[in-house]
């Protein structure tokens, strides 16, 4: 019976012993630097924004507690509840259409009293768990055909479609990329890969014509030709790039970046905090920060590689890809490598749902990491299991 309670004293003792200090320290470091950067980013903004970093600290504390919870419960419970959690996520996404309120042309939030959250953020975790459960339950090792991928594809497509209808291109994109990352882990037949690419090639124009909203198309157009409309959609990308360049090698110094201090960076706390960081700390600071994200992602690959079952491996890969795609898309967007899509920078961007999702994800990673060891029978005896 005790095996089904991950919180049993015996398992906890095993957990304490295998606590993943690297994961914890890097995550904590990112969170601290993120809050400090948020302080700089909002220091000059209107009064309503100036205590934003305190809000972020609250979210980090709440997220830390949730992450601890997510880490200590044996992850196999999540496997058992995988589809149930996924269903809850889908229901919440549907509820957005009923309860949501229009903000800047899209409704992404559910309001419960004074509290509000973005179900699409949590859906990322639910999707990872659901995909992990599917692959765990389908332990074939030969190459998969498209038919074999139909169910995980559907698992991804349903929330993706719902989120695109909100519309929220960035989150939908992340879901698709999580699915692709998980697929990259599995063995797939060559012809399936080819037909997948053909399918994407066909779907892209269809998506462009029917699914994308005008403002989304404008953003992509602005990426392809950034100088065309400097005062319109190209404004964010243009000034973010100037801010980064203005950082130079060593940066302007904390809270001294002129682009941010003189309000040339809109959304400096949500989508563009990296531009503030880059301006304040320069190339050296950015190199360290990018290295931290790189470490976190590579570390999640290591956790996946050492996971003792498919569920744990896919869970780790899923969380790793979540962090990777968020970081890569945000950095790519801010530096002008990629179009402006609303993707947050993990632990840097302000936002409760986003912070909680990332921290819970890191909690899950920790969970898998702590339980990656076989407990040899002799050791189990020693531990009096």
């Amino acid at each position: 019976v005790s095996t089904y309670f991950g919180t049993s004293p015996r398992l906890l003792s095993a957990g304490r012993e295998h606590f993943d200090w690297a994961l914890f320290l890097v995550s904590a470091l990112l969170a601290v630097v993120g809050v400090i950067n948020l302080y700089s980013a909002t220091s000059v903004a209107r009064a309503a924004l100036t205590d934003m970093y305190i809000q972020q600290v609250y979210w980090l504390v709440v997220g830390g507690i949730l992450a601890t919870c997510a880490a200590v419960v044996d992850y196999r419970h999540y496997e058992r509840l995988g589809y149930a959690l996924y269903s809850v996520g889908i229901v919440l996404l549907v509820l957005v259409f009923i309860l949501g309120r229009d903000i800047r042309g899209s409704s992404r939030w559910i309001y419960i009293g004074s509290f509000s959250f973005q179900p699409s953020e949590f859906m990322k975790l639910f999707l990872i768990i659901a995909l992990a459960k599917y692959l765990h339950d389908d332990p074939r090792t030969e190459g998969r055909s498209l038919k074999d991928l139909l169910i995980p594809a559907l698992l991804t497509a349903v929330p993706t479609f719902l989120i695109m209808r909100q519309p929220d291109l960035g989150t939908a994109l992340i879901l698709g990329l999580i699915f692709a990352s998980v697929c990259a882990l599995t063995r797939i037949q060559l012809k399936s890969i080819v037909s997948l690419f053909v399918g994407v090639a066909v779907l892209l124009p269809v998506t462009w014509s029917y699914l994308l909203k005008d403002y989304q198309k404008q953003r992509i157009a602005a990426f392809l030709n950034p100088e065309a409309n400097l005062l319109g959609t190209g404004w964010h990308a243009h000034h973010a790039r100037i801010a980064i360049g203005n950082g130079g090698l060593t940066g302007q110094g904390f809270m001294r970046g002129s682009q941010n201090q003189f309000l040339f960076l809109p959304d400096q706390y949500s989508d563009f905090p990296f531009a503030v960081f880059a301006e304040d700390w320069g190339f050296l600071g950015c190199f360290v920060l990018v290295s931290l994200y790189g470490f976190l992602v590579l570390w999640s690959l290591r956790v996946a590689a050492t996971a003792k079952d498919r569920f744990g491996a896919v869970l780790a890969i899923g969380v790793g890809s979540l962090i990777f795609w968020h970081a890569f898309f945000n950095l790519g967007m801010v530096t002008g490598l990629l179009p402006v899509v609303g993707v947050t920078l993990p632990l840097f961007s302000y936002g409760g749902s986003s912070v909680l999702t990332i921290l819970i994800g890191i909690g899950l990673l920790m969970n898998v990491s702590m339980r990656r060891f076989y407990v040899s029978p002799s050791r189990a005896r020693l531990l009096d299991l």
Partner: protein, 684 residues
């Protein structure tokens, strides 16, 4: 326990993939770092420069337009501060804003009624501005007109300005902005010469700032637009203000200020740290001008001319060509046209001025050309003397008319037998008909041209009329070969197609008086800095030496002396025994032909002759030449000559006052008080 101890599912499928994923992730982050290296290290300096440009704005610093003074330092044109009231619609009347209507409570009261009271707006203006406020606030987004200030009242009195400042707290959304307004203390006096200023018009602006101007290099812009004109700039529109614009204007300066993305200025040490040198370029004030005009003389002329509707008076210095007075009537007040009283006042004034049939905007001293009438006779006589076509001492008979072919040419009365001197003094037309016939048109034209008639004088202010001195070839062109001798006869008495401007005539008489030197008229004595340092001094300029023999000039002067001093002279009746004047009267036909529908009273006025008197004084050693033209004044001797006498008397008086010897009979406390006091204390 067992499933904890054993691997639950096979993870072998994934094993080979991790290194590829790791490679992909590493490459992705390397790409990001590479991009950062490119942005921050390779191109960092460029982006830093752009970031710097983003927050540094060169704020223009206004310059002050130079002053214009008369010869004795009296200020003719200067700049004074004027205070204009602006309101921000959304703040002065929050109740007009849509957001306020729905969301906010009544926490912001409307300051508008109090603002309107304080600014003393009349009910019409109130209603009009209220409508504008409501119109502007149909939307109250950040950049809507709801938050753009609108001008509600211009040129406030100091009392109202003080009141607004005092009650600023209750007058939310109201702002007083000061602006420089051109000010002409002498109002309409010498207005035509001074001109006025006006906002630069679009044609002129397009000339200095052609398409694509903003994108040009600084050098190219400086070449095209050396004076730095910008939309809304106030520039000279006419007169000295226009002609000397480049001196008066000055050069705008700039100051670097730190500005944020919303266009708000930032101050404080943090902002100061960012500003790089040079942080400021001081504006260069415009140069001051000292004119040759004498405003005391202008005032006398104005008083003397009050009885007449329309005319012109010119006074020039005989030995320098300096213009002491240019007076054109009717006048206009340049203060009304230069923005002091607001846009409505400007519009109203222009409408009135352009509707006036007496053409107050026309500078009649230089832009108006008139038949000179008998004032032309000395030049015709000079032509005869130069070419020795007749003996000046030989008498011609005047019966009051002369029949020539089928036409009869009239004279004022029967002069009996007159020689040249008498013919000039008594202004006998018959003598001059005969003279003209003997001399011929082209010889008269040559002499007239020697004296500068028929060509622009080059005063450089206002569009100048060249006048006209017709020749045979001119008539050949005009009348297709049908030349009549009558043209020549009429030219001999300054009628027909001969026209002159009062300024031309003055300079020509000055040339007679000074022994044959024709000067270019000089209006600007010197260019000075604000503290009176002379930057550029303009000496008199000789236009040409008149190619006539001195003894002939002496004969002409003798005739002109007779006009005033010979008991039979035309101006003898109005002479001033104290003054030594020589001159010539003229009564020129106006050429007006009444239309059928013309008001008889108006027709009567317009058909009256132009009255002329052109003179110089003192006749023995001339100092000034005066020309008086009274349009439709009737008769030269009775209307124009007395005014010239008053001007000459004033000149003599001023000369005495300025030399420290005020004439006993007419002490002028105002003009000489300073000097008199100084003298008084020095010599009891």
């Amino acid at each position: 326990v067992s499933d904890l101890l054993l691997p639950r599912s096979d993870v072998g499928e994934f094993r080979k993939r991790y290194k590829w994923l790791a490679l992909f992730v590493t490459l992705a982050f390397v790409a990001v770092v590479g991009r950062l290296f490119q942005l921050q290290v390779v191109n960092g300096a460029d982006y830093a420069a752009t970031a710097h440009e983003n927050i540094i704005r060169r704020v223009p610093l206004p310059t002050t337009r130079g002053m214009v003074r008369d010869s004795y330092g009296k200020i003719l044109a200067s700049s004074r501060p004027s205070y204009n009231a602006y309101i921000v619609p959304g703040r002065v009347m929050p109740s007009a804003r849509p957001l306020r209507r729905s969301d906010l409570g009544a926490d912001e009261p409307d300051a508008w009624p109090k603002v309107a009271d304080t600014l003393r707006l009349n009910p019409d203006e109130r209603a009009r501005i209220e409508a504008r406020i409501r119109g502007a606030c149909e939307s109250d987004e950040d950049h809507s007109p709801c938050f753009h200030p609108i001008l509600v009242r211009e040129d406030l009195s100091r009392d109202i300005v003080a009141e607004v400042k005092q009650h600023q707290g209750d007058l939310a959304g109201t702002e007083i902005v000061s602006a420089a307004v051109r000010f002409y203390p002498f109002k309409s006096l010498a207005a035509h010469t001074l001109g006025y200023v006006a906002p630069i018009d679009s044609d002129k602006l397009a000339h200095f700032r052609p398409d694509g101007y903003e994108q040009m290099s600084a050098e190219e812009r400086a070449r095209l637009n050396p004076l730095g004109y910008e939309p809304g700039d106030v520039v000279g529109a006419t007169g000295v203000e226009l002609a000397w614009e480049s001196y008066l204007r000055g050069q705008r300066g700039w100051e670097k200020r730190v500005v944020d993305a919303r266009g708000r200025y930032r101050t404080g040490p943090e902002a100061q740290r960012i500003i790089d040198a040079p942080a400021r370029q001081d504006p260069v004030p415009g140069r001051d001008l000292r004119l040759t005009l004498d405003m005391e003389m202008e005032q006398t002329i104005e008083r003397a001319m009050r009885g007449h509707l329309s005319g012109a008076v010119v006074v020039v210095e005989v030995r320098t060509g300096r213009v002491l007075a240019l007076y054109s009537r009717p006048e206009f007040d340049p203060n009304d046209l230069s923005g002091g009283g607001g846009k409505a006042r400007i519009r109203e004034s222009f409408n009135k001025l352009y509707a006036d049939p007496l053409r107050p905007m026309l500078d009649k001293t230089t832009s108006g050309a008139f038949h000179p009438g008998s004032t032309f006779k000395p030049f015709a006589a000079m032509a005869a003397l130069e070419d020795q076509k007749l003996n000046p001492d030989e008498r011609e008979r005047c019966d009051g008319y002369l029949v020539f072919g089928r036409r009869t040419f009239g004279c004022s009365h029967v002069h009996k037998k007159v020689d040249m001197r008498e013919a000039i003094a008594e202004s006998c037309n018959v003598y001059f008909y005969k003279l003209a016939e003997a001399v011929g048109m082209d010889r008269m034209a040559r002499i007239a041209a020697e004296f500068g008639l028929g060509t622009k004088t080059g005063i450089g202010v206002n569009p100048e009329s060249p006048g006209r001195v017709p020749t045979r070839s001119w008539y050949a062109l005009r009348y297709a070969g049908q030349f009549q001798i009558g043209f020549t006869l009429n030219t001999g008495i300054g009628q027909g197609d001969t026209t002159v401007t009062p300024l031309q005539l003055s300079l020509a008489y000055a040339a007679i008086a000074n022994g044959g030197t024709l000067y270019s008229p000089q209006l600007v004595r010197s260019v000075e800095t604000g503290d009176g340092l002379v930057v550029q001094d303009f000496p008199p300029r000789i236009r040409q030496a008149v190619n006539v023999r001195p003894e002939n000039l002496a004969r002409i002067i003798e005739g002109l002396y007779g006009v005033v001093n010979d008991p039979k002279g035309t101006a003898f009746e109005v002479r001033d025994p104290d003054l030594d004047v020589a001159g010539k009267t003229g009564t020129a036909q106006s050429g007006y032909i009444a239309g059928e529908n013309d008001d008889p009273r108006i027709a009567w006025y317009y058909s009256r002759n132009h009255a002329w008197f052109s003179a110089f004084a003192p006749s023995k050693s001339p100092e000034i030449a005066v020309t008086v033209l009274i349009e439709h004044g009737g008769s030269g001797p009775t209307q124009a000559a007395p005014i010239a006498m008053q001007v000459i008397r004033e000149y003599e008086r001023l000369k005495a006052v300025r030399a420290g010897h005020p004439p006993a009979q007419k002490p002028s406390a105002q003009a000489s008080s300073g000097k008199a006091a100084a003298r008084g204390s020095g010599s009891p």
